[in-house]
Subunit: 153 residues, 2 copies
């Protein structure tokens, strides 16, 4: 069983290679402005997006490399399963970021912050962020708790 | 350009058809217990997942039907772009849910709440939910604000 994805756009960030990318979208402070550039055929799907302060972006981590099911993270001393991390080298390398949406620069060009992916990453989906179902500010972070990026907002 | 996904497991829910599914994972109260059943080969990837209270699940909405770029939602009077909604019939029908993780029922079988997908949905990825990057409790919900599902937690 296999499923096929097609990009609906591309993501522009300041990072040319995976090695340059921050550990997460909140690590670089201030978080730089990035752009989402939609393919023209998908522009009708953006109607109504302008009212949301935050969006969920799904993208294809095309530079992730071969999947590894477990590994010792660089800032840790124990082996962790990839599903207990946000590492890019996953069986299905779909990246997910909650971004602040700062409006349209042009039709189909969105200004966003809090990305951590490489420049040119293929975009798969945009979803509105809904705090009623997506926000769990009190969630516990397991082994990652000592490594949490402090929030500046 | 196209990318290929393979399921890493399947999701078991009480809903046999899309028509039976709740509008979102918080609508049914109390939210029923669901199960994520991983393929055996991916079990090593779960090491360390046990410490997280919430997870992000990505899944393939195999019953979504043909993509529609815009449409009038059933509880609305205006046309909306699909990227301003969480509707399943998207160009890349990847579903995303923030779920409460209630532990392992068996190795590779996770007990979770707050799903809204149909029984048998193919699982694509599990990520730990990190409030430091994923929680935006004050986000504004645009046209969906009047339709927000009240939180009971």
């Amino acid at each position: 069983m296999a499923f096929t994805l097609s990009p609906i756009g591309r993501i522009e960030t300041p990072w040319a290679t995976p090695a340059e990318c921050p550990r997460n979208g909140r690590q670089a402070q201030p978080a730089p402005l990035c752009r989402v550039v939609m393919e023209a055929e998908y522009l009708p799907g953006l109607e109504g997006v302008e009212g949301f302060s935050h969006l969920l972006l799904l993208y294809w981590m095309h530079r992730a490399g071969v999947a590894r099911l477990n590994f010792t993270p660089p800032f840790d001393t124990r082996r962790r399963g990839v599903f207990a991390t946000r590492a890019p080298f996953r069986p299905n390398p779909i990246g997910l970021s909650v971004v602040a949406f700062e409006g349209f620069e042009a039709p189909g060009v969105l200004r966003v912050r809090y990305l951590d992916c490489v420049d040119g990453t293929p975009l798969l989906d945009i979803k509105p962020y809904l705090p009623s179902t997506d926000a769990e500010p009190g969630a516990s972070m397991g082994w990652l708790a000592p490594h949490a990026t402090p929030r500046q907002d």
